[in-house]
């Protein structure tokens, strides 16, 4: 790492120095490109394999298929008794509802913490921060028992245990992110609205909600991607094949170890990651900034 210290303002050096710097710069770019190749290789291999025929998967070691075989996708789509499209819809529904629930509940909670003065605010805030570090695995057993008592597990709508916690703003990360964001909204706007006779509810509706759009968008995107990838809780709470979301359904591929299943398995992997990849392409900057807001401004 010796060569990778932080940049110095170019000293008033002559030509040789600049040339040397240029050489180092080139080396650096080459190193970065090499790392990029390693990082992207598994993804390229995944897509390549998804388009290989069963014989090619075994025989062809190169990343790309000799001829593109789309049949893996149609086979994977129909691989189980339930159409893969069903799993897709289930995942879209869970992720979509989670996005709405998180965005609404965390915004409401964050407004209380960031803008309103009430008794025990500091205490509650400390607890909220404490729950940030609380592993979900610790709570899964008692939550399961509790939700089972309510007949939510395997009930008429088996997704209740996945959605209700989000409605109740248990995703502290987003509360924290929005509190941080709201602290950046000038207080003068609140005061102006109050002088015009707005109640705390009015300030929320007419000042905070419209101005919090960037934080809402960040929350929505992260909520979607994380829920899309989330596995642990979906594995615990979903028990009927028809109710499975993509991650739970994908585990069924592991059981079928035969070589013939590899193509369809990879094809469905690619399909299931596609929405996340599209989100990444569309919102790359926002995602990176979201990480920073939540991580650093503390």
């Amino acid at each position: 790492m010796a060569h990778s210290t932080v940049v110095l303002r170019p000293s008033p050096a002559g030509r040789p120095a600049r040339l040397a710097r240029h050489g180092r710069g080139l080396g650096r770019v080459l190193v970065l490109l090499a790392i990029l190749a390693i990082v992207l290789y598994p993804l390229v291999w995944m897509v390549g394999t998804a388009f290989k025929s069963p014989t090619e998967i075994v025989s062809n070691v190169s990343v790309l298929p000799k001829e593109f075989t789309p049949s893996n996708f149609t086979e994977g789509w129909r691989h189980f008794d339930v159409n893969f499209g069903r799993f897709f819809l289930n995942s879209v529904m869970v992720a979509g509802l989670t996005v709405v629930a998180n965005a609404t509940s965390c915004l409401v909670t964050a407004y209380a913490f960031a803008r309103l003065r009430f008794r025990l605010r500091g205490f509650w805030f400390a607890i909220m921060i404490g729950t940030l570090l609380l592993p979900q695995h610790v709570l899964i057993v008692p939550q399961f028992i509790l939700f089972k008592q309510f007949d939510w597990v395997g009930g008429p709508w088996p997704y209740l245990p996945l959605i209700v916690p989000q409605v109740l703003a248990t995703e502290a990360f987003f509360v924290f992110l929005m509190v941080q964001f709201m602290r950046g909204i000038p207080r003068e706007l609140d005061e102006a609205a109050k002088i015009d006779g707005a109640s705390p509810y009015g300030v929320f509706w007419h000042v905070i909600v419209p101005l919090s759009r960037p934080a809402l968008v960040t929350t929505a995107i992260f909520s979607f991607i994380w829920t899309w990838n989330e596995f642990f809780r979906q594995l615990v709470y979903l028990s009927d094949l028809e109710d499975y979301t993509i991650p739970v359904a994908m585990t069924l591929f592991i059981d079928s170890t035969g070589q013939s299943a590899i193509g369809p398995m990879f094809a469905m992997s690619v399909l299931s990651l596609l929405p996340v990849f599209l989100f990444f392409l569309a919102f790359q900057r926002l995602l990176v900034e979201g990480i920073n807001t939540a991580g650093l401004k503390g």
């Binding site: 210290t5 190193v31 970065l32 598994p42 003065r117 909220m128 592993p135 610790v138």
Partner: protein, 327 residues
């Protein structure tokens, strides 16, 4: 938890600054605000009670029982500390899972952070194409936790996988790494390190905050590149390193998905990927020993809290906060 202490000055500041000028009825309006505060907080409070606090107490109670889902509530048997005794003295697979988890965190987390810091330092010197590199390095962090990617990863390190294909180029005969108890966990570590992008992004933002004058001053004093790295970059970056270290360690202890996929939910081969959370899942949801699983959960929680506490208490000695600049 210490984030709170970082927050509280800001909270206090807003508390004093936010009070509007004295107007008639300001006491009434502040009472109204107090009520509104709890109105807005009510969903969260309900969640805190119903989804977090009550389940936690329930799980504490269950940890002293032999509860399985089938027993009716009035027949739940109180067995005192038996679950804890069994965990600490007679359950070999429990200790194995502790070992696996600690090893995973001890190796994967430092390597992941080193990769993140190294690449961030490289990128920080770059002028063009930074956004593109940063984006693509970050991509694995977005998809690396999914079942789909874990499935691909396992296949990649299997007999006919890409990794052996790569080794083949050098004439090395590979093996099915994921079926080898000596190597299965290592493939999961590599998967964790592959996702270095998220901490990298945070490092990169931290590096941008280091004032350039410090380097100029150091250079004037005759400090070379290494010296500048050790004496300027690392101390200035220490809060960010600390943040990443705490976060990644806690995440590292919770690795579940990839271990589940690799072993098809068993923790194999020969318990080599039996991460703590996977063990907890097996005990609770395939063997239905929910009392025992609750005891495991409480020990896990206490362990995580202790580790966090150790981080924060040692942090005082090496984390450098620049004064008066709390952004």
């Amino acid at each position: 938890m210490a984030l709170t202490t970082a927050e509280s000055p800001a909270v206090r500041a807003t508390e004093t600054a936010g009070i509007p000028t004295k107007r008639r009825g300001s006491r009434r309006s502040s009472r109204r605000e107090g009520i509104a505060g709890y109105v807005f907080l009510s969903p969260w409070l309900l969640g805190l009670m119903g989804i977090t606090a009550i389940p936690m107490l329930l799980s504490l109670y269950l940890s002293f029982t032999s509860y399985d889902v089938l027993t009716p509530w009035n027949e739940v048997e109180w067995i005192g500390l038996e679950n804890y005794r069994r965990m600490f003295t007679s359950d070999l697979s429990y200790w194995h899972s502790v070992q696996v988890t600690v090893m995973f965190a001890l190796i994967a987390v430092p390597l992941k952070l080193a990769a993140a810091l190294g690449v961030a330092l490289l990128l920080n010197r770059e002028r063009r194409g930074v956004g593109l590199f940063r984006g693509f390095f970050y991509l694995p962090s977005l998809i690396g936790g999914s079942v789909a990617l874990a499935i691909v990863w396992v296949a990649m390190f299997n007999r006919d996988g890409a990794f052996n294909g790569f080794l083949h180029l050098f004439g090395i005969e590979g093996k099915p790494w994921v079926n080898d108890p000596d190597w299965a966990l290592e493939t999961l570590m590599v998967l964790a390190i592959w996702q270095f992008g998220a901490p990298m992004v945070i490092f990169l933002a931290g590096l941008k905050q280091v004032p350039i004058e410090l380097y100029e001053a150091a250079a004037v004093d005759g400090a070379g590149r290494w010296r500048q790295f050790w004496s300027v970059t690392l101390p200035m970056l220490s809060p960010v390193i600390f943040f990443n270290l705490v976060l990644e360690t806690i995440n590292g202890f919770q690795g579940f998905t990839a271990a589940f996929v690799l072993s098809n939910g068993t923790g194999g081969p020969i318990d080599s990927t039996l991460m703590y959370t996977l063990n907890l899942y097996i005990k609770g949801f395939t063997e239905y020993e929910m009392g025992y699983a609750s005891a495991m959960a409480w020990v896990f929680l206490i362990a995580i809290a202790l580790i966090t506490a150790v981080f924060f208490s040692t942090g005082r000695f090496w984390v450098h906060y620049s004064d008066g600049d709390d952004r």
